[in-house]
């Protein structure tokens, strides 16, 4: 279908009527003010949501009732700045509906200028972002909860992208290694590894990333005091709905004391075996001496 200019349509229409319909049809609340900020127009959605008409906008009462108390001062300051400077206006604030509940809106406005550059009118819209705002707040809350959990666990923890590039470590990692994200991101963790383990660990980690299989390894990591401690390191892939690996979550668990206890146990066992063998030799030696004495006797 080819586009036709409105003026060429056979049925005569009023552009003003069409734009009036458009202004009421779009999902935003629409408003127009004069250069001083006095309202000249509200669309029907504004009236339907707020319950206020253009006549109600004279004076401060409508705005004081409409805006959430926590948003009033900020809204006044930002709108005042735009009126004074002609800068575009943008703000997130809460409007009370005529039914009593508050919803979050994104308020935006731009000045329409006359030929001489002076501001003739301000055109503004308020877009309902309530659901997105709540979802973002919930997401932020979940992220805060995750960060709290990630920093509370006794392990060092980290996250890598699908290629194995590490982009996040928990606070314990930084506390233990004395390093920064700038130093550690990507493959920077190799800097705190015992050099003799770097090649083997990197090879096995790279293979796990390539194959998308869980990774586990045991190697020493250097603390900020310069001493190495042994860590059992694990990582699991996080997949999207299609099964593609999108991220890796990893932990490093300090097993130094367990290793020391294991070594002590092995040493004790070896010592015991050696002592028994030594005692047997001594008995054989004594037996041999006795036989020799008997022969002499």
């Amino acid at each position: 279908m080819s586009a036709s200019p409105i003026s060429s349509i056979s049925t005569p229409i009023s552009i003003e009527t069409e734009f009036q319909f458009l202004a009421d049809f779009i999902p935003q609340l629409v408003w127009i003010t004069d250069p001083a900020g006095s309202h000249l127009y509200f669309n029907q959605r504004w009236v339907d949501y707020t319950g206020y008409t253009l006549a109600d906008s004279v004076g401060p009462d409508m705005w004081n009732n409409l805006l959430h108390p926590d948003d009033r001062a900020r809204a006044r300051q930002i709108w005042g700045h735009s009126l004074a400077t002609g800068d575009d206006y943008e703000i997130e604030y809460r409007f009370k509906s005529k039914d009593g509940g508050y919803r979050w809106f994104l308020g935006q406005a731009s000045p329409r200028r006359a030929e001489d550059g002076t501001i003739a009118t301000w055109f503004g819209t308020c877009t309902d972002i309530h659901d997105q705002k709540l979802a973002a707040e919930q997401l932020q809350q979940r992220e805060q909860d995750f960060m709290t959990l990630a920093n509370a666990i006794p392990q060092l923890a980290w996250m890598a992208d699908a290629t194995g590039y590490i982009f996040w470590y928990n606070e314990r990692w930084y506390d233990y290694t004395g390093s920064s994200l700038e130093e550690m991101q990507g493959q920077g963790w190799q800097q705190v590894q015992d050099p003799s383990y770097v090649a083997g660990v990197t090879e096995r980690f790279t293979a796990a990333i390539k194959n998308g299989t869980p990774w586990q390894d045991l190697f020493p990591l250097r603390g900020k005091d310069g001493q190495y401690r042994w860590f059992l390191s694990r990582a699991l892939p996080v997949r999207d709905e299609s099964g593609e690996v999108v991220r890796w979550c990893g932990t490093n668990t300090d097993v130094t004391e367990e290793r020391q206890l294991q070594e002590q146990l092995i040493n004790s066992h070896n010592d015991l075996e050696a002592k028994i063998a030594f005692r047997n030799l001594e008995l054989e030696h004594e037996l041999k001496n006795l036989r020799e004495q008997l022969k002499k006797g």
Binding site: D271, K275, L281, E282
Partner: protein, 119 residues
């Protein structure tokens, strides 16, 4: 210089690591007579082949040698003293990286166990 004592591989320990003036830091007698020379000794000086046992009341002089047996994966010491001849298995030897400090654990055929420090 690190003060850390490192375990020495007893299968490859040089005899020279066992020589020197050892102070007896700790001992467990087990069934050893508490009056025996080794039970009351405060130090053992292993110098070349001569052994000097130092005790609060008297010193004794004898000889010592490092011996090995293919059944044992660690050396043992043969100690000859005027009153007795005994053998002691080396159960552990630790040294600092510069050799300035050492710690030696011995297990005697009588059941006596000793930890010796140097210096």
């Amino acid at each position: 210089m690190s003060d850390l004592l490192l375990d020495i591989n007893l299968q490859q320990v040089p005899d020279g690591y066992l020589a020197g003036a050892w102070r007896i830091a700790h001992r467990v007698l087990n069934r050893t007579s508490p009056d025996s020379s080794l039970a009351v000794a405060t130090a053992l000086v292993l110098d070349d082949q001569s052994l000097q046992l130092q005790a609060p009341t008297q010193n004794e002089v004898g000889s010592w040698a490092v011996q090995r047996d293919e059944l044992l994966n660690r050396p043992y010491l043969r100690l000859n003293l005027p009153a007795e001849e005994t053998r002691a298995l080396v159960t552990r030897l630790r040294r600092t990286s510069d050799g300035a400090r050492s710690q030696l654990n011995l297990y005697f055929s009588s059941g006596l166990e000793m930890q010796l420090d140097r210096p």
